[in-house]
């Protein structure tokens, strides 16, 4: 099994004609994802040429696209200035999952979008995330397919390339994944570690979980307590930013230590206290996972 995306995913690509959107649409289709349509305002009625000359219909609005294609998931590649509007449109359209790749969505806009999504019962993944891939089933976002393989590990991460680093190490050692989820590096994200853990808990094929956190906020601490109270399968954790200075934003808008809270040290201590095995280096994740699976 897998979480969030699989062979039943009917995907819409918002911003399908843009530079990133068109590149990744082709990648996703190649991986076997069922891309049912695209949305670019003003280009409704045209079509996107996928690999092997498939024609993916383009719509002006998500509403039309959902009505016509029965899409249940939307992925957003539109530029930051339009991303908030695209997310509102997706939330309003009837899809169940919105994956927002775009970085740089204003945080005040996100407060409203998260409230809207909660009202509508829509899950948002991201923004500023690499998306999600269920190896062998479907990929929504930008995670490179070469680094994954099917298997028993659930992976959750706040970062992009660091996830790749962790996942490829697993794959090289023959340890595959049920689903790899990038939850995003912004301070306000739609899907938290706990949300993902809850899903993995319900996924029979997931036998162990890798959680890759970073400095800033308390999402990892909350997750650790939740794990201690709710989860039976083993979890391996890693925190990036042990050498980050306080008060400076480390790339991601969400990766910032305020005062003494949100440090890597605090998070790692909290992991250990709650039974999460802590990897000192990304490479150590493999060994801890192997131990956990035994």
């Amino acid at each position: 099994m897998s979480i969030f995306v699989d062979s039943k995913t009917r995907l819409l690509v918002q911003g399908i004609t843009g530079r990133d959107g068109s590149f990744h649409t082709t990648e996703m289709i190649r991986y076997g994802t069922n891309v049912v349509g695209g949305v670019t305002p003003g280009k409704g009625g045209m079509s996107f040429k996928g690999p092997d000359d498939q024609k993916i219909p383009i719509y002006n609005t998500v509403e039309e696209a959902v009505a016509d294609t029965g899409a249940n998931t939307s992925v957003i590649y539109v530029p930051p200035a339009f991303a908030a509007g695209a997310m509102e449109e997706a939330v309003d359209s009837g899809v169940a999952l919105v994956v927002a790749i775009t970085e740089g969505v204003p945080v005040q806009a996100m407060t409203k979008i998260h409230a809207f999504a909660q009202d509508r019962g829509v899950r948002i993944l991201g923004p500023n995330c690499p998306g999600v891939i269920s190896p062998g089933k479907a990929k929504v976002g930008i995670i490179p397919e070469q680094i994954v393989m099917p298997g028993p590990i659930g992976v959750i991460s706040r970062s992009g390339t660091l996830t790749y680093e962790a996942v490829i190490n697993l794959t090289k050692e023959g340890i595959g994944q049920t689903t790899c989820v990038g939850i995003g590096g912004d301070p306000l994200i739609g899907t938290s570690f706990i949300d993902c853990l809850t899903q993995f808990k319900g996924d029979e094929e997931t036998e162990a979980i890798v959680m890759i956190g970073e400095i800033g906020g308390t999402d990892e601490q909350d997750a650790a307590e939740w794990i201690s109270d709710n989860l039976d399968i083993p979890v391996v954790g890693f925190i990036a930013g042990q050498t980050a200075p306080p008060g400076r934003q480390m790339g991601h808008a969400g990766a910032i230590i305020s005062g003494s809270s949100g440090t890597a040290e605090e998070k790692m201590r909290c992991f250990e206290k709650n039974g999460v095995r802590v990897a000192a280096r990304p490479i150590d994740i493999v060994e801890l996972v192997r131990e956990a699976l035994d």
Partner: protein
């Protein structure tokens, strides 16, 4: 982006909040002239992006022209937490009956704006939050509904008993929320919010951070950016769309992705080295960005070795390799460059490097260990 106190106060004033007058200057003589306009005692305050100005000697009372000159002269040029003071704010000293704290920020947990008030103002609110969290009253605002009148009134009632002060504070809280929303702020605070013996409520000090993602909407706030006191490397990184934070070590790091960049720094430390910087070249690479990144890294005289850790996803390894070769042609780089290159277009990237007689690692641990071994310590 943080803005200076006097800039935050301009935004407060624009939103109707009572703020005593004030002018900034870089010149002690001018400070004396400004002070004359305000009569009596003034406060001379360092304008730097840093807390703890008071303890660092960046805030001084001055009663005479000589005192004003002396205060401005001492404060200008002062270094506070690594920031050099280039401007001082002159503002009349106020009689104070009580000091309170009023702030608005984005709360991660509730995913909403949160208004916070505390009747113990004028002190570090994070300290108060740790020592006596119960003295801070918080209100989560429904972002679509905005701050309602009775909510502002309820918060004001936590600060004052006197109905006139409560009324004034209610209006100020609503105005501050307005300022927060219409400036794309991620944080705004008045500390202290004072009441005077004559029964007025005023904002005496203010702090504000604007969401970088909103800055494009507010050119007047973008214009507040203090490029003059920003280190050259940070200005350059920002303008090139790179994320750069200078650190104290000697291993220059160039990585794609913020998480991987932090993990790389951590691994440098793990292998006994000290990272010289955080640098994320971002998702969609192009060779020019790599050239700029190398310019920035090499501008740090501490850097003894340059470490590339690239895991190609959106970033293409060949772009990075091209950038490195280009930079070597343009810049005089003495420090050895140790490269890890894997992922999208890895082969093409390696080919470009080997054509120039360079090679690359594929493992992160190997490359970091190698880089650290190239340093003098």
């Amino acid at each position: 982006m943080d803005i200076h106190e006097y800039q935050a106060k301009e935004i407060l004033r624009d939103n109707g909040i009572p703020v005593p007058p004030g002018r900034v200057t870089k010149d002690p003589n001018d400070a004396v002239n400004i002070a004359k306009d305000y009569g009596d005692t003034v406060v001379v305050k360092a304008q730097v992006h840093s807390g703890g100005r008071g303890k660092a000697g960046g805030v001084k009372l001055a009663g005479t022209s000589d005192e004003v000159f002396a205060a401005a002269d001492q404060i200008l040029g002062l270094t506070i937490s690594g920031h050099t003071v280039k401007e001082v704010l002159i503002t009349p000293a106020e009689d104070i009956d009580s000091e309170a704290y009023l702030g608005i920020l984005i709360d991660r947990e509730s995913q909403s704006p949160v208004v916070m008030v505390c009747s113990e103002g004028g002190v570090d609110i994070e300290e108060v939050a740790e020592k006596s969290p119960e003295s801070i009253k918080k209100l989560i605002v429904d972002p679509r509904q905005g701050l309602l009148h009775h909510q502002a009134y309820g918060l004001a009632g936590a600060l004052y008993n006197d109905p006139s002060l409560v009324k004034q504070a209610t209006v100020i809280i609503k105005q501050l929320y307005q300022a927060f929303v219409t400036s794309g702020a991620s944080m705004i605070e008045i500390n202290p919010l004072i009441s005077t013996p004559t029964g007025e409520v005023k904002a005496i000090d203010a702090k504000m951070s604007v969401d970088n993602s909103e800055l494009f909407k507010y050119p007047s706030i973008e214009a507040y950016r203090d490029v003059a006191s920003e280190p050259w490397a940070e200005t350059m990184a920002r303008e090139a769309g790179l994320s750069y934070v200078k650190l104290d070590g000697n291993v220059g790091c160039c990585v794609n992705g913020a998480g991987l960049a932090m993990a790389t720094m951590d691994l440098v430390k793990y292998y006994g080295g000290e990272p010289a910087n955080f640098l994320d070249i971002g998702g969609s690479s192009n060779p020019q960005k790599v050239v700029t990144a190398l310019q920035i890294i090499t501008s740090d005289p501490n850097v003894e070795v340059i470490l590339f850790n690239i895991f190609g996803g959106i970033t293409r390894c060949d772009d990075v390799a091209k950038g490195i070769i280009e930079a070597l042609g343009q810049l005089e780089i003495e420090a050895p460059i140790i490269i890890r290159l894997t992922g999208t277009n890895e082969e093409e990237g390696l080919k470009i490097l080997s054509a120039e007689g360079m090679s690359a690692f594929t493992s992160m641990d190997e490359v970091v260990e190698k880089a650290v071994s190239e340093t003098s310590n």
